[in-house]
């Protein structure tokens, strides 16, 4: 087993519709930028892992066509789709490929072009016997879980709105972020259209077109190729049972995220995550979810998430900045979103995050969230 580090990242400008490029060209953009960032060429890449939820665009085996956009011509190419976790699942797969000793340099690219498809229709393609009949997409699904979370933990709409505001204000310092709403306020969030109680329009993530890439190198190559590589310290995944009715209190406890985080912290030796982690890029598809994730990730005790956002602990200048990039609430090309979490965490550790850089970030956390409450946790550091 080899140690592995990320040596480069690249992403597209994320936006509502990239009518000027195909999916393959979108992937090529992110790939080219990652190769440039790593200072290597496609010929140095041994293998490619792709991430995309083709149900959203109505495609089949998209890696057949898009693989070439990632430079996968006659290379080992593998495509992963696990819902929202697709990007982090692909990042973990790429990490395993490198750590296994099979490949020295592995490129991971995630993309989604929601503007070419019907996302809600894709989300209805679940279990045909039970879930499809009640398929309500992300919003209805979250409204159910959030109502239970609010009832048990007592977070308020104002506290959730503060998460939404924090994300969009952070995004205003990220040139790649989709939503640019630096004038957003808590009042504007609460005044925005109600989608499904208690979720307002501005509490939800957007649908974006975009791609993001990261490049891994094995221990003997990474230090030679990158002056400050982001070493993978832990990569843990947890899945859960699929049926909504079987996952009682899923946002309240979020046991997959809790258990994945515990194992990751144990591997790295983290005992006080809030104090020890310098920056977190977590997959928050809806404002309330970020509060629940604070608790599942051990940033605070159960029921304390509201206080964390009230006290500004997770703001850019707080003790643990969460989602300096603007997060999924500002940018959400689903197949890329998990890769963006990892790339942004890497950029922080490398000191390459530009205007949204957290000073002296050395230990970063990235997470993925997928339908059915699946979770991935990845921890990266400077050494």
């Amino acid at each position: 087993m080899k140690r592995v580090a990320v040596i480069g990242t690249g992403q597209t400008k994320h936006t509502k519709a990239r009518d000027d490029v195909t999916q393959s060209e979108l992937v090529r953009e992110a790939t080219t930028r990652a190769l440039a960032d790593a200072g290597i060429t496609i010929h140095d890449v041994d293998a490619v892992v792709l991430s995309n939820m083709e149900l959203f665009e109505g495609r089949a085996l998209p890696e057949m066509w898009v693989g070439e956009g990632a430079g996968g011509y006659r290379k080992p190419v593998m495509k992963i789709a696990t819902g929202g976790t697709s990007g982090t699942s692909a990042c973990i797969a790429g990490y395993h490929q490198c750590a296994s000793g099979l490949f020295d340099i592995v490129l991971v690219v995630g993309w989604e072009k929601h503007s070419e498809g019907a996302t809600q229709t894709g989300m209805a393609l679940t279990d045909p016997l039970w879930d499809r009949n009640v398929a309500s997409g992300a919003v209805g699904n979250f409204a159910l879980s959030i109502s239970q979370y609010v009832a048990e933990r007592g977070v308020t709409p104002q506290q959730a709105a503060k998460v939404a505001v924090k994300a969009r204000r952070n995004a205003a310092r990220n040139p790649y972020a989709h939503l640019q709403m630096d004038g957003i306020t808590v009042e504007k969030v609460l005044e925005s259209r109600m989608l499904a109680d208690p979720i307002h329009l501005l509490d939800m993530c957007p649908q974006s077109d975009g791609a993001c890439a990261v490049i891994y190198a094995a221990e003997d190559r990474a230090p030679k190729l990158c002056p400050r590589p982001a070493w993978v310290r832990a990569a843990v995944t947890r899945h859960d049972q699929p049926y909504i009715g079987d996952l009682d209190r899923r946002l309240v406890t979020m046991r997959t995220l809790r258990d994945a985080a515990r194992e990751a912290y144990q591997r790295v030796g983290i005992t006080e995550p809030l104090k020890e982690i310098d920056v977190a890029e977590i997959y928050e598809p809806v404002s309330y979810a970020e509060l629940a994730w604070y608790e599942a990730l051990g940033f605070c005790a159960e029921g304390e998430a509201g206080r964390l956002i009230d006290d500004g602990i997770t703001e850019m200048n707080g003790e643990l900045p969460v989602n300096p990039s603007g997060g999924v609430l500002s940018t959400n090309p689903v197949g890329a979103s998990g890769v963006i979490r990892v790339a942004e965490a890497v950029m922080q550790v490398m000191g390459r995050a530009g205007d949204h850089q957290v000073p002296d970030a050395r230990l970063a956390l990235a997470t993925g969230y997928g339908v059915y409450a699946w979770s991935d946790v990845i921890i990266l550091s400077t050494g």
């Binding site: 057949m64 066509w65 011509y73």
Partner: protein, 223 residues
């Protein structure tokens, strides 16, 4: 994971080699009867040039068969099925060992490809042989199991792997025809493992997916 289940086996093996897991269950499934298994393949062609032509796996396999001067191909019957294997870190159990694996994608545009050949399969095999320390596959491989969703493919894949005059593929006893797509490659691995439980040797399992076998995967097992 997309592609053939044999690729998932490679992924599982890599996760073990990476130190992430000790035991991995790999499952491949396909319930072709739920949909239009040939029609859906039209959606795997790029939407700008090839998909609008109405291409699907039957049409492009006919193209490939004609370039090989063969009769129109016979697709295998539509089937539902699943296959599973359990991979473990090397132990004292005298189970067949996975000693080589490789996979690769060919060009997507059929006009860019020589359909009488499969460079992706050659590349997948080269990677697997390198890991398995196999210099001369004709000599070192005892038997093979190939994936053939169309009747002509078995001969094509065998000629790419072992040369046109090779008889190695003839040692394959069980055809993948009738096994659902995406399950077939993992099913090939199961077949070679079952045979290696009865006799010692080195075996090759093959899987493919996508237009005219654009995706290729090879696993080498030894006992």
């Amino acid at each position: 994971m997309a592609g053939d289940g044999l690729l998932a086996a490679c992924h599982g093996a890599m996760s073990i080699l990476a130190g992430a897991y000790n035991v991995v269950l790999v499952v491949a499934h396909c319930k072709a009867s739920m949909g239009d298994p040939h029609g859906i393949t039209n959606w795997s062609y790029d939407p700008i040039f090839q998909q609008p032509l109405g291409l699907d796996d039957v049409a492009t396999s006919a193209l490939q068969a004609s370039t090989l001067s063969l009769a129109p191909p016979l697709p295998c019957s539509i089937a539902d099925g699943a296959a599973a294997i359990i991979l473990s870190r090397p132990s004292s159990v005298p189970a067949p060992h996975l000693i080589g694996m490789g996979w690769a994608l060919d060009e997507h545009y059929l006009g860019d490809r020589d359909l009488t050949d499969s460079p992706a399969l050659r590349e997948a095999a080269r990677r697997a042989y390198t890991l398995a320390d196999i210099d001369d596959p004709k000599r070192d491989i005892t038997f093979v199991e190939l994936s053939d969703q169309f009747d002509y493919q078995r001969k094509l894949w065998a000629s790419v792997l072992f040369g046109k005059t090779s008889e190695v593929f003839e040692t394959s006893e069980v055809s993948a025809r009738g096994v659902p797509p995406f399950v077939a490659g993992l099913d090939r691995l199961i077949e070679v493992v079952l045979r290696l439980r009865k006799e010692t040797g080195t075996a090759l399992a093959h899987g493919c997916w996508g237009p005219c076998g654009q995706g290729q995967v090879v696993v080498v097992v030894r006992r």
